[in-house]
């Protein structure tokens, strides 16, 4: 009898031990980051205290202003009216709210086309690199020159970690929806109307339906095969080859989405579709609609690691405010999001 009891106790203990060994509750990262700041009567932002156990992945503030002053009266908010052939210019504000100095790659998308622009006196370029010290905030004067009459969307994008070309999975996964901040304004050049969008139909882009149970909601995921949840992080490719990949894009199950998609290779815009000269694709997806379509990229001729990504611009050509400072309610995620940066490891052909 005693042996039976000992055996039973032994079995119970064994089960408990198995549960502990095989189902650990190991939570390995416990980070905290805390910042205190003040503003004076001129709305000047001053960090008074920062405590942290580990650095944050990213933390920054951005804005677009008519004058280099951090106050609401000088903010562009979300719209700008231009008359009499004035150039579109202003100040791009970045607040580097991190304990590390960072370099930001700045790019401008006018009507979802990457355009050259002047920044801080440097000539018109597609990409500008700027440096900010820990907790530094700075205004950068930008100038896009004269715009065609009509309504425009202008979004200035700041990218972090652009000099990191590690093929490490941990880094690649960390780039998912990361290291990008942007600010968009509706620009009305002698106009009060925004353009009407010519949306791509799913059949035109050879899209297939992933079903409403597909994992993403109001977002995107790049993959090597359509409608899968396995992410795509790196690829060994030959110089000059054409690489096919899939852009999975989805609305939310509860609401429709309107989105513009743009592909970047080494942070420079490239076409998404084969034999198509248009650089951006506009999609309008009904609630629960989740699709996957093939995209193409011409692999660079230079060996080394090159960066491929797709940007997800929500609600293109949508009026963002009814009057200065009065935002319009928008029923979808409104932050521009980047896909995972795919590390293309190019070898000679």
């Amino acid at each position: 009898m005693l042996k039976v009891i000992i055996g039973a106790v032994f079995c119970i203990l064994l089960i408990f031990m198995s549960a502990i060994v095989f189902f650990p509750g190991d939570n390995e990262n416990r980070f905290n980051w805390k910042m205190n700041f003040t503003k004076d009567s001129n709305n000047t932002f001053t960090v008074t205290n920062v405590t942290y156990n580990s650095k944050t992945g990213e933390s920054f503030g951005i804005g677009m202003y008519n004058a280099p002053l951090h106050n609401p009266e000088d903010s562009m908010h979300f719209s700008k009216c231009i008359e009499n052939n004035e150039p579109f210019e202003g100040y791009y504000f970045i607040s580097n709210q991190m304990y590390e100095q960072n370099d930001y790659l700045i790019s401008c998308f006018l009507d979802y086309e990457q355009v050259p622009f002047s920044l801080d006196g440097s000539g018109p370029e597609l990409l500008h690199r700027v440096y900010l010290a820990p907790f530094e905030e700075k205004f950068f004067r930008f100038d896009l020159g004269r715009l065609e009459p009509g309504g425009h969307d202008c979004e200035i994008v700041a990218l972090l970690e652009t000099e990191n070309h590690s093929l490490d999975l941990q880094f690649r996964r960390s780039t998912d929806f990361s290291y990008l901040g942007s600010r968009r304004v509706n620009v009305y050049a002698n106009s009060t109307e925004l353009p009407v969008i010519n949306y791509s139909s799913p059949s035109r882009i050879f899209a297939q339906n992933c079903g409403d149970g597909y994992v993403i909601n109001d977002g995107l995921l790049l993959t090597r095969t359509p409608c899968v949840a396995e992410g795509w992080f790196t690829e060994d490719v030959r110089a000059g080859e054409t690489l096919v990949y899939y852009v999975n894009v989805a609305s939310d199950s509860k609401y429709p989405v309107s989105v513009a998609l743009v592909a970047l290779l080494d942070y420079t815009q490239v076409p998404l579709l084969e034999n198509d000269t248009s650089n951006a694709i506009f999609l309008n997806l009904a609630a629960g609609e989740k699709i996957s379509f093939p995209a193409y990229v011409q692999v660079p001729a230079t060996p080394g690691v090159h960066e491929l990504m797709v940007l997800y611009f929500p609600v293109p050509y949508t009026m963002l405010e009814s009057s200065p400072g009065e935002s319009v309610k928008i029923d979808q995620w409104t932050c521009t999001e980047p896909s995972i940066r795919i590390g293309l490891n190019v070898s000679e052909a």
Binding site: I20, N36, G61, P72, S327, C335
Partner: protein
């Protein structure tokens, strides 16, 4: 049929070792569970206030204290955890407070994403206007959720009157 006998002293020794290990494991474990307080849960749209929250994760906050208006604190929080026999769970939260009172701002949002190794398991944004909270939660369906789990949140805080905008991210991970 021959049966192998386990000697009494050996059984006692083994039991002692197992018991000691069990006691040590339980004693060294941190508190596993806390719950959303009614105060925190009340203002959260779409959140399951009964869901257990793990201890740990990554919490980031930014506190404004100035002469122009009331002091307020914005907090972003990501936590992924697994209690012994339960599934993997995560919480992704943005909140705005004056003290412990919800402080509504123009836009508050959070996008939660959860990866299990190289596979995306969860992706859900939530944006609320004139609100103090945004939160999404995840719970795995796998019976054996082995692997490296990585949860991340993109937070959005926009307060036009204060000319204050913050877009931080937070993350947490767990190996099962």
């Amino acid at each position: 049929m021959k049966r192998k006998r386990i000697s009494g002293p050996f059984t006692a020794f083994l039991t002692l070792v197992l018991l000691s290990t069990l006691i040590l494991s339980v004693a060294s474990a941190e508190p596993l569970i806390m719950r959303l307080s009614p105060d925190e849960g009340a203002g959260i749209s779409g959140a399951d206030v009964e869901k257990d929250i793990g201890v740990g994760g990554m919490q980031i906050s930014k506190t404004y204290s100035g002469i122009l208006d009331s002091e307020y604190t914005w907090t972003g929080y990501t936590d992924i955890w697994k209690s012994y026999l339960s599934p993997v769970k995560s919480i992704h939260q943005s909140k705005s407070r004056i003290g412990s009172t919800p402080f509504d701002i123009d836009v508050i949002g959070v996008r939660g994403r959860v990866w299990q190794d190289e596979s995306l398991k969860f992706d859900q944004p939530q944006t609320n206007e004139d609100s103090a909270d945004a939160q999404v939660n995840y719970q795995s369906s796998e019976v054996f959720p082995w692997g490296y789990w990585y949860a991340r949140s993109d937070h959005t805080f926009e307060y036009e009157a204060g000319n204050d905008y913050w877009y931080p991210m937070s993350y947490d991970s767990i190996t099962v």
